[in-house]
């Protein structure tokens, strides 16, 4: 039996603990529901994350392949300089959304996909392989941004599921049993006190009866003695 330390076995505390256990039990139910909800959401996001990760790897391979083909067609320095020719870099906007109390990021990117003539290189003197490499890398950046959003959401969900699980377990295996034990302890203690009081009262009563008897006996003896004296 694990009783909450420093608890005074009084009726007031007992009432307080009974209220607390009700709150703890309803909290436990709610947290269990939240944990289950988060788990369902987690598996949905996990499937999405797996798909995006696979697509990301695929896109990376395609982008590398296209880059190598462009290097073959144009030479390495042309590719390097073409990549530096871009002036307007993509911007990323961060927002947040709420999944059952868990705040997850919402990332939106702007200006990732550019029109061919906005990329900064001359069209006439370059080959289609450069466009294809640029297209592939733009898709890759898009995919990386989606993966960042989904994978961060996944990590946040895992963290929250973990803490919710800890709270559920703490309530289930520690807080609620401890309160129950303490209530039981206070119950026993109050019963014991009641019994003590009964015994004490009985003893007091016996003493009082005895005293009354003795007083009566003394009074009777005094009366008898007074009678004898008058005679």
């Amino acid at each position: 039996m694990a009783v909450i330390r420093g608890t005074k076995p009084t009726r007031a505390v007992l009432i307080q603990l009974r209220r607390r256990i009700k709150v703890a039990q309803s909290g436990h139910e709610l947290l269990k529901m939240k944990r289950d909800g988060l788990m369902i959401e987690f598996f949905e996001v996990l499937t999405k994350a797996k798909t995006i990760r696979q697509e990301l790897v695929q896109d990376l391979l395609i982008a590398e392949q296209r880059l190598n083909m462009a290097k073959g067609a144009e030479g390495s320095v042309a590719i390097k300089s073409v990549s530096f020719a871009l002036q307007s870099e993509p911007s990323v906007e961060l927002d947040s959304r709420n999944i059952m109390g868990v705040v997850v990021p919402k990332i939106t990117a702007e200006a990732v996909h550019k029109k061919m003539y906005e990329r900064g290189y001359g069209i006439i003197g370059t080959s289609a392989s450069i466009d294809e490499a640029a297209d592939a890398f733009e898709s890759l950046v898009d995919k990386i941004i989606s993966a960042a959003e989904v994978e961060t959401s996944l990590l946040k969900l895992v963290d929250d599921i973990d803490s919710t699980k800890r709270r559920v377990n703490a309530l289930e295996f520690k807080v609620i049993p401890d309160i129950k034990d303490t209530i039981r302890f206070i119950g026993f203690a109050l019963e014991e006190m009641d019994r003590d009081n009964v015994v004490r009262l009985k003893k007091l009563k016996a003493k009082a009866v005895k005293r009354a008897k003795e007083e009566e006996a003394a009074k009777a003896a005094a009366a008898a003695a007074a009678e004898v004296g008058s005679v």
Binding site: A85, Y117, R119, G122, I123, I124, E132
Partner: protein, 325 residues
Amino acid sequence: MKTKLIPNEMYARMLSMDVTEIARYLEETQYKEEIDTLSKDFSGSELVEHATFSNLAKTYRKLQEVSIDEPRFLILEYLRRWDVWNIKTILRGKFYGASSEEIMKYLVPAGELDVEFLEGLTRKDSVAEVIQALDGTDYSPALAQYDGVMLSSVENALDKLYYFRMERAVGGTLSVGGGLLLKYVRREIDIRNLITLFRMNRAGIEANIIQENLIPGGKLHDELSRMAGQPFGEFIRGLEGYPFWGAISDIATADLDSISRIEARLKGYLVRYAWAISNYHPLSILPVLGYIVSKETEVGNIRKLVLGKSAGLSNELIEEQMVVA
């Protein structure tokens, strides 16, 4: 000259070799000297890339040295494309802050501008200084279009200037085979414009922007210009019946996955055309043109082969990108 080129059937064998084997094979060809010289500085795909570029420059310079009078003038005009290539490479290198040594590795001094002059340009501190150093040359009107933000306008202007000069130079020749050479130059302009149309129509770009990126001149300029901005399927259907259609008919569909395959096919078509006209007048500039075009194609193929191999690309993919006449 033709015997010095790597035969087409050899590419199939080279596809089954690794980079070291290809380098070893190239040592048995005209690239031996460059591979031996550059092997102390480079290895693997870099060695092959630089050796082939170096050999290309040497070969073209030799062609300029052995030719005289009008053929020399025409060869030089044709080879100015390497001056344009070098200027663009230097501008690009300066644009992103590459060192002089790094830029020099990718120059091909096969045109009129010699190594010393190009090296001087690479030592300039900025794009503006390079443009200033070229002030007064034939390229300054094109270079004046630099807006300080993007190189694309300058690059396009340089390429347009090159083709304008080339068409004008060939158009004014009285040499034997001059007419065929002009036909070739116009066809090259058409093919370049056609590739631009493929790229930009596929990307759904507005007609007026595409038209700005077309090279003036060529035989089909007006017809191709009208195709700018057309829906891709309609554009493809519109190409049926043109002389180059046979080279791309089996892969040119509305759901085409790679324009670079079309580009390789069209370049192959152009090389075949150059070879075909080179046989008409054996004592004219035409056989030299055939050789120049084939040599450039050969170097491009070797580079694609070696870089593709070292990057682990599949043989099918490398083969698709190679230009085989």
